[in-house]
């Protein structure tokens, strides 16, 4: 097969799949399971919330049974201090040093707060975490987060859950062009072509949840996203033709 052995390496983790799935938004665990299996994902996010007497939602058992690596997030945190404590609790509960750092500025946009995010990233790196950082599509901030020691930088395509696709493809290309850590397009993906575009722009992977879990047929959309990421990765490696204003005959002249 073409590009066999094309792995995504982040910290000590080596992944064959370049599609990371978030577990939020699925109607139930059985829908989620079918979607995860169809997506071929090897890394999947979970959130940390207050435990009730019945324990968790069963999502941990599901991910362990499927052999999928956990990526706990700090969703819902508004400050660096909150995010650091949540990451430390996740490490203790799930026995992993992986964390998806996200510090949201407000509920309406769920946009990353750049100041708190950078502060938290520095503290988590110093504390030994492998930090996957959710950030704006800001090429300057992306570089600062890389310099802070983040293992992967994850710019958004559009705000979480909007399905608006990649609003500023040029910024994503700028981020990719200067990065020496993996760049993962996170948030905003609406459909398969968005995921393909992310990979064509040079992203190393795509992280999405709502586009699959809230699709009318999550399993089928997961399958589409798997193909889309793979197609975009191949197209990027293959090298596209330059865009031209005028036609350029592909048949020989008479």
């Amino acid at each position: 097969m073409i590009d066999e052995g094309d792995h995504l390496v982040i910290g000590d983790h080596k992944l064959t799949s370049r599609l990371i799935i978030g577990t939020g938004g699925a109607a139930n665990l059985s829908v989620l399971e079918r979607a995860l299996v169809a997506s071929g994902t090897e890394l999947t996010t979970v959130a940390m919330r207050r435990a009730d007497a019945e324990g968790g939602s069963g999502v941990l058992e599901l991910l362990r049974r499927l052999g999928i690596t956990l990526l706990p997030n700090t969703a819902g945190c508004r400050s660096a201090a909150e995010a650091v404590l949540t990451a430390q609790l996740a490490r203790e509960a799930l026995e992993t040093d992986l964390v998806k750092l996200e510090v949201h500025a407000d509920d309406r946009t769920l946009l990353p707060d750049p100041v708190e995010t950078l502060d938290a990233a520095e503290r988590l790196v110093a504390d030994g975490f492998t930090v996957f950082v959710y950030t704006n599509d800001d090429p300057v901030l992306a570089l600062r987060l890389e310099e802070a020691g983040c293992a992967a930088v994850m710019p958004l395509g559009a705000p979480i859950g909007t399905g608006l696709g990649i609003r500023n493809p040029h910024n994503i290309e700028l981020i990719v062009a200067r990065a020496s850590v993996p760049i993962i397009l996170d948030a905003g993906i609406g459909t398969a072509s968005d995921a393909t575009l992310a990979m064509e722009l040079g992203c190393d992977a795509v992280l999405l949840s709502t586009a699959v879990t809230r699709a009318q047929d999550p399993e089928r959309m997961a399958c589409a996203m798997r193909s889309a990421v793979s197609a975009g990765r191949l197209a990027r490696a293959a090298g596209r033709i330059p865009q031209r204003f005028w036609a350029h005959a592909s048949s020989p002249p008479r």
Partner: protein, 68 residues
């Protein structure tokens, strides 16, 4: 003697001298996949049986759920 502790935002009463492990047992919280913060600091799993929870403490017990 009893102490009052805020667990996940709810005030509860426990016997004086209760450890984190005692509280988890009394609450029926599963041990796997959870983590505990006492007044904003993580209590390592290995220390649950030794750490005595003081009166008025705020305890957060977290677990993983679908999200992200």
């Amino acid at each position: 003697m009893h102490i009052h502790i805020h667990i996940n935002g709810e005030e509860r009463e426990f016997p004086d001298g209760s450890t984190v492990a005692d509280l988890l047992t009394a609450l029926g919280t599963p041990r796997q996949g959870v983590a505990v913060a006492l007044d904003g600091e993580v209590v390592r799993r290995a220390n649950w049986a030794e750490v005595v929870v003081p009166d008025g403490a705020r305890l957060e017990i977290l677990t993983a759920v679908q999200g992200g």
